[in-house]
C-alpha cells in the first residue's frame, strides 16, 4: 500500500499499534520472569524495535517465511507464532514450541512460517535465501523475510547471501534492524563505508532506508518492497534505523550509554510515537489504553500459564536428534 494510504489508514495503524503493544507486553513479561529466574538462559529483547517487526510482518502471508535473530520475539509474534508456545518455550516448559529444547535464542514456529531465531549473528541469512530458492522450486509464490541486525553486515554471509539472492532473483526481503549497536559496541565503530543500503546495492540488491521507529513508514516501505519481491523483481533490502531501548541482554544495563543518550532514545519510542500519531488522528486515549491493558493481560496470562506448565519430560531430551543412529538412553 502507498505511504499516504498507510499513514492515512488508521485501521491499519490500529493493527500496528495492537501488535506492537503485544510485542512490548510479551517482552516486558519475559524480562520480569527472567528477573525472578523463571526464565533461564540469555534473554535478548527488542523493546524499542517493535515497529520493524510489526511493519514488515503485517505485510506477510501466513505461508511466507521469516528467519530471525537472537532478538527474535517480536518477529515471531508478528509473524503469528503462538504466544502461549513462545512464553512456555522461554520458560523451558512443556508446551513450548520447541519442547523446551530451544529457548529464547531458538524460538521457532514452523506452522506460522517462523523458521527460527538464531544464536549466530547472520546465521539466518543463508537459510533465508535457500528457503526462497526452495519455495520457487516447489512452485510456491510465498516469499521470505530475513531479519538481521546492523552487526551482521560485517559477517561474510551478508555478502554471500545478498549476492546469491540477487543472482537468482530470489523472493527475499532482507530487513536490517539498525539499532546502532552490537552487544556493547557502537556499530559506527565497526562498519566502514557509506552504509548498509550502499552495501546492498553494491551486491545487486536495491535498498531503501526508513526510520524504523515510525510504524507507518516501515509498513509502507515493506509493502512497497514486498510487492516488488513477490512480483518477481528479485530481492530487496529494507534498512530500518531503530533503537535498542534495553541493554544487550535483559541483565545488561548498558551502563556505558549516557543518561542523555538513553533519554534521546526513549524519546524515539516507536509505541509512544505511534500513539501520538493516533491521538492526532482522533483516536481516543481510552481506546489505546484498552489495547495496552489487553496486551498486558494476554501476556500476564501467558506467563501464568507458562509458570504453571510442567517441565518437559526428561526422557524427551533424547528425542528429535535424528532418525538413524539416535543416541540410546545411557546404560
Amino acid at each position: 500500500m502507498s505511504d499516504a494510504k498507510a499513514a492515512g489508514n488508521s485501521a491499519r495503524l490500529l493493527d500496528l499499534h495492537r501488535l506492537m503493544r503485544r510485542i512490548r507486553a510479551f517482552e516486558e513479561a519475559a524480562v520480569a520472569a527472567h528477573g525472578t529466574g523463571e526464565i533461564p538462559g540469555p534473554l535478548h529483547v527488542s523493546i524499542g524495535q517493535e515497529a520493524v517487526a510489526a511493519g514488515v510482518c503485517l505485510n506477510l502471508r501466513r505461508d511466507d517465511r521469516i528467519t530471525s535473530t537472537h532478538r527474535g520475539h517480536g518477529h515471531a509474534l508478528a509473524k503469528g507464532a503462538g504466544v502461549a508456545g513462545m512464553m512456555a518455550e522461554l520458560h523451558g516448559r512443556a508446551g513450548g514450541h520447541c519442547g523446551g529444547k530451544g529457548g529464547s535464542m531458538h524460538i521457532a514456529d514452523f506452522g506460522a512460517g517462523m523458521l527460527g531465531a538464531n544464536g549466530v549473528v547472520a546465521g539466518g541469512i543463508p537459510i533465508a535465501v535457500g528457503a526462497a530458492q526452495g519455495l520457487r522450486l516447489l512452485g510456491s509464490d510465498a516469499v521470505v523475510a530475513c531479519f538481521f541486525g546492523d552487526g551482521a553486515v560485517n559477517r561474510g554471509p551478508f555478502l554471500e547471501g545478498l549476492n546469491w539472492a540477487a543472482l537468482y532473483r530470489l523472493p527475499v526481503l532482507f530487513v536490517c534492524e539498525d539499532n546502532g549497536v552490537a552487544a556493547f559496541t557502537r556499530t559506527e565503530s565497526t562498519t566502514a563505508g557509506p552504509g548498509i543500503a550502499a552495501r546492498a546495492e553494491a551486491l545487486g540488491v536495491p535498498a531503501e532506508t526508513v526510520d524504523g521507529n515510525y510504524a507507518a513508514a516501515v509498513d509502507a516501505a515493506a509493502a512497497r518492497l514486498l510487492a516488488a519481491v513477490r512480483g518477481g523483481a528479485g530481492p530487496r533490502l529494507l534498512h530500518a534505523r531503530t533503537t535498542r531501548l534495553s541493554g544487550h541482554t535483559s541483565t545488561d544495563a548498558a551502563a556505558w550509554r549516557s543518561t542523555e543518550e538513553v533519554a534521546a532514545l526513549q524519546a524515539r519510542d516507536p509505541i509512544a510515537t505511534l500513539e501520538a500519531a493516533l491521538l492526532r488522528q482522533g483516536a481516543s486515549a481510552e481506546a489505546l489504553a484498552v489495547v495496552h491493558a489487553e496486551a498486558e493481560a494476554e501476556m500476564r496470562d501467558a506467563r501464568e500459564a507458562a509458570r504453571a506448565a510442567p517441565w518437559p519430560d526428561p526422557a524427551s531430551a533424547w528425542a528429535d536428534v535424528q532418525d538413524t543412529g539416535a543416541a540410546g538412553r545411557a546404560a
Partner: protein
C-alpha cells in the same frame, strides 16, 4: 550388472533419485559443467538449471542455502567440491544443520545430503587432502557414511537422499576411478551395516573409505602367511556397525583399525574404545590403530609415502599382533 566407475555410480544414483523425486536437486560450484569430477555430467541438460544449480564460490551459502531449501520441503544434495572447503561452511553445517531439528523440538527436518570428496589424491597437499570424518561422528544430529565401492557409494547415496536426516557423504577421491558392478535399479543401502570383505579367525581388521583396497591387499598377503583376517569395511561411520565389529573381535580376540585419517582422536579411537568397553579388556588380546601421524599431508610423494598407511604397514602390524 554393468561395471562402472565409482564416480559414475554416484552420478547414476543421484540422477535416479532426481528422476524419482522432483524435490531433489543439486547445488554446488561448476555443477553446470558436470561438477569437478563429472559426477553431475548431463544434469543441467536433463534437469535444468533450477535443479542443477551452479553456484558462486560461497561455501557458507551453498551449505546454508541447502539447509534453508530443506526447511521448506525440498531435498537438496549439497556439493562441497573438496572436503577441505567444508571448513568454510562449518557454522552452517555444525551449528545450524546438525542442531536445527533438536533446537526446534522436531519442527525442522533438514532432509539434505552433503557430498564431500575427501582424502589424499594426486599430491594435493595439506589443504586438499584431509580426512576429518571423525569430527562428524562427534557431532550430534548427522549421519556419516564413507563408502569404498561403486555399489556401496550408489546405494548409500540413494539412502542418503531418501533419509530425513542430514547425511554427510565422505567420498574418497582416490577411489573415484575404481570399477565395480552397480545394478540398473539402485536400491537404498541401510546405514550402519558393515560389509565383510574377507573372513578370517586370527585378527579383525576394520577400515573404511580409501583404506579398504589397501587393507584388502594386506589381508591377502597375510592370508598367504597363514594369518586369517576378518576384514570389515564399515561403510557407515555413524551409525556404525558395533555389533559386527564386536562379534568379530570376540571371535578373533584382536582388533586392528586402519584409517587414512590422523590416528590421534580419529574414528579408530572410538572403535577401539567402544570394543574394549563392550567386550571388556579381559576378552581382547590385542588392540592397535594405524593411521596418519599427527602431521599435515605433505606435497612431495616421498614425504607422503613416509607418513601414509600402506598395505605393508598393515601386514607388519597385524603380524606383530598375532605372533608377538
Amino acid at each position: 550388472m554393468p561395471e562402472v566407475t565409482l564416480v559414475e555410480a554416484t552420478r547414476l544414483a543421484v540422477a535416479q533419485e532426481m528422476r524419482r523425486d522432483p524435490r531433489v536437486w543439486v547445488l554446488g560450484e561448476d555443477v553446470a559443467r558436470g561438477g569437478l569430477f563429472g559426477q553431475y555430467r548431463g544434469f543441467p541438460e536433463e534437469f535444468g538449471e533450477a535443479r542443477a544449480v551452479s553456484t558462486p564460490i560461497s561455501e557458507s551459502t551453498i551449505m546454508g542455502a541447502g539447509l534453508g531449501a530443506a526447511l521448506v520441503g525440498t531435498r537438496p544434495v549439497i556439493e562441497m567440491r573438496i572436503f577441505d572447503f567444508t571448513l568454510c561452511a562449518m557454522d552452517e553445517l555444525a551449528n545450524q544443520i546438525a542442531k536445527i531439528r533438536y533446537m526446534t523440538g522436531g519442527q525442522a527436518r533438514p532432509a539434505l545430503v552433503v557430498r564431500m570428496p575427501h582424502g589424499m589424491w594426486r599430491s594435493s597437499a595439506a589443504q586438499h587432502s584431509q580426512s576429518l570424518e571423525a569430527w562428524f561422528v562427534h557431532l550430534p544430529g548427522v549421519v556419516a557414511v564413507a563408502p569404498a565401492t561403486p555399489a556401496d557409494a550408489a546405494g548409500l547415496l540413494v539412502a542418503a537422499i531418501r533419509s530425513d536426516d542430514p547425511v554427510l557423504v565422505f567420498e574418497a577421491k582416490d577411489l573415484w576411478q575404481s570399477v565395480g558392478p552397480v545394478p540398473e535399479r539402485i536400491e537404498p543401502l541401510p546405514f550402519g551395516v558393515a560389509r565383510r570383505v574377507r573372513e578370517g579367525g586370527d585378527l579383525t581388521l576394520v577400515c573404511w573409505s580409501a583404506l579398504v583396497p589397501a587393507a584388502d591387499r594386506a589381508a591377502a598377503a597375510l592370508a598367504e602367511r597363514g594369518i586369517g583376517v576378518d576384514l570389515l569395511d564399515l561403510r557407515s561411520l555413524w551409525p556404525w556397525d558395533e555389533e559386527a565389529v564386536c562379534a568379530s573381535v570376540s571371535r578373533t580376540g584382536r582388533l586392528l583399525v586402519a584409517q587414512e585419517a590422523v590416528t590421534a582422536a580419529g574414528f579408530g579411537a572410538e572403535v577401539a574404545a567402544r570394543v574394549v568397553e563392550r567386550l571388556g579388556p579381559g576378552n581382547v588380546r590385542a588392540v592397535r590403530r594405524l593411521g596418519f601421524p599427527r602431521v599435515p599431508v605433505p606435497f612431495a610423494p616421498p614425504l607422503e609415502a613416509e607418513l601414509r598407511v600402506t598395505p605393508e604397514r598393515i601386514v607388519q602390524t597385524a603380524e606383530a599382533m598375532v605372533r608377538g
